[in-house]
Symmetry: C2
Subunit: 345 residues, 2 copies
């Protein structure tokens, strides 16, 4: 990497950071000690020279690799000291917890990290958490979503900024490196002679993600050298299309509600005559508005509801999660279960 390239990379990341972080704001940085998070730490420190912000590093020692895990912990502690940055450490035996919960290491690790972030956010009075997911991570996620059939939304990959309610705390997860390929991160660190921890346990990587990383992504890069630019273009196109669908769904609902003078109500005849993609978007929108989440609500659930709403034989209803869609003559109604406890994440 040339100096010029490094400067350009820094500039593009500073632009992303200044879009999302206000002067004087406090941010929590997820710091594993690997190349990606060490790079993000470096970027944040440089950014803070121009725009004063308060950085708190957060490290979870997953205790999965014995002495190695201890070494990693020491590495991030030393790094934070060198960078004169506050660091918070959590040490948890993920293997033990995972066994107890009967869940996978990956899922357990993420849960523990997220709860740690939520605790810190409360303590530090901030809600902004930064993670170092990059363009390769995003491409892998998109490919996984395609293979799993996650629908158009899945083709968008990760969101640069996303809100999650964790342990009753509203967190904003920011991923400022989402447009940066792994290779650029490594080139930068080599160029600047910045050290990082190698061979971290691939705790965050499922078997399938590893297959995609090792077998598919290298081939895609061979076919298209500008694969990340292409992915970004695809994501933009799909995003525009989904925005359009969402807008039209909102308009459709509003129009019905106005005529029926009732919230969460649709004119059944109009609904049945609508285009199928619009119908699905309307169902998704009504679910989202009422359940305040789209968790566990995908194409399969939409199809079940659609089957009921498309029929025209007396009263029918379908309940998914806390939400009931029901048809009564020419009216479709959506209602929420009163006692509904919000799903955490």
């Amino acid at each position: 990497m040339q100096l010029q390239e490094a400067k350009k990379l820094e500039k593009s990341i500073f632009e992303t950071l200044s879009k999302h972080i206000k002067k004087g704001e406090k941010v929590i940085l997820g710091l594993s000690g690997g190349a990606d998070s060490v790079f993000l730490f470096e970027m944040l420190k440089k950014f803070a020279e121009k725009t004063p912000i308060k950085i708190v590093a957060a490290h979870v020692n997953h205790m999965l690799r014995g002495l190695e895990s201890e070494k990693d912990e020491k590495f991030v502690k030393d790094l934070a000291k060198k960078y004169k940055t506050e660091i918070k450490i959590l040490k948890k035996d993920i293997a033990k917890i995972s066994k107890k919960l009967g869940r996978g290491l990956e899922e357990t690790g993420r849960q523990v990290r997220h709860e740690f972030f939520a605790k810190l956010a409360k303590e530090l009075k901030t809600n902004l958490v930064l993670t170092a997911h990059h363009a390769d991570d995003n491409l892998e996620t998109i490919l996984l979503n395609i293979v799993r059939g996650a629908g158009l939304k899945g083709l968008l990959g990760m969101e640069e900024k996303i809100k999650h309610k964790i342990a009753n705390t509203d967190l904003s997860f920011l991923k400022p490196l989402l447009q940066v390929p792994k290779q650029q991160i490594e080139n930068y660190l080599t160029h600047k002679k910045i050290e990082f921890v190698k061979d971290l346990s691939n705790l965050d990587e499922t078997f399938n993600r590893n297959l995609i990383r090792s077998k598919i992504v290298p081939t895609l890069k061979k076919i298209n050298k500008n694969i990340f630019g292409t992915v970004a273009k695809n994501v933009k196109n799909i995003g525009e299309t989904l925005d359009f669908l969402d807008d039209e769904a909102k308009k459709f609902i509003k129009k019905s509600e106005k005529i029926l003078k009732e919230k969460n109500a649709l004119i059944a005849k109009d609904f049945r005559e609508a285009n199928k993609a619009l119908k699905k978007a309307v169902i998704r929108e009504l679910y989202k508005v009422n359940a305040k989440t789209l968790k566990d609500f995908g194409n399969a659930q939409i199809d079940e509801i659609l089957k009921v709403l498309d029929k025209n034989i007396g009263n029918k209803s379908k309940k998914i999660g806390p939400i009931t869609f029901s048809v009564n003559k020419n009216r479709i109604k959506v209602s929420v279960e009163k006692k509904h406890k919000k799903v955490q994440y």
Copy 2:
């Protein structure tokens, strides 16, 4: 493959065939001699026992593998004889033609085959050409389109039936095996002890397609055993969304034309205020209606037009192929070059 499975496979293909082929109709079958086209031949013969149709096999000897090519020609001739089916053979030195035209072997081979089909169609007074593209071919095409960034339309893959004007002849290309995985075809042939030619030159396969076939598809199958079902579901969802976009674009154009009392005209203000995905769909629709093709018209071209139409600084226009989009005050006009010679394919 069990007898039961073979019966089920036959039934699903017969259903597709009966959707598209009328009793007594004449069809041209592209017959290379490889597993796929031999399988399709077998299916057509069985189908014809119940629904009488006239099959004409068409084979192009590409003369690319010396004696092997001659053997293949003999194989398909013998097969047609055994099946009591008329066969037409074209022998062309594709390597020589390719050199002369300065085009790739793949492109040249396809052009020669297509022109042969067109000639036969005229001679035989039919326009229906059947090819043996299957689910693996389709998945490869979709992946290639993703990697190339072909937009949402590319994610749909191949169309089961598509019209092409070739050498002034309207042809309908039908791909009845698009839902059938390669593995099923091979299992069927093994089960029924049906012979076919192996190691055909991969004339139709680009380097990139081969990479996808050998490196990516096997991994995808490892991750998702039902990958073809998932792809079919994805295609359905995306198809519905694109139908919606197209419908809305048509409505948008119609509304403008009605108000302006003029064909191919848009109200500039309304256009500029529309959602970006809708704008793009409107441009695509206007181009398609006027140019009668979308060949060489993709996202890049749409973006160029959009840039001009979105401006509001005096008269502007942009010509792509035979079509000119122009802005005059509050009116966007689309006009076609009079002398436009239709692109063949």
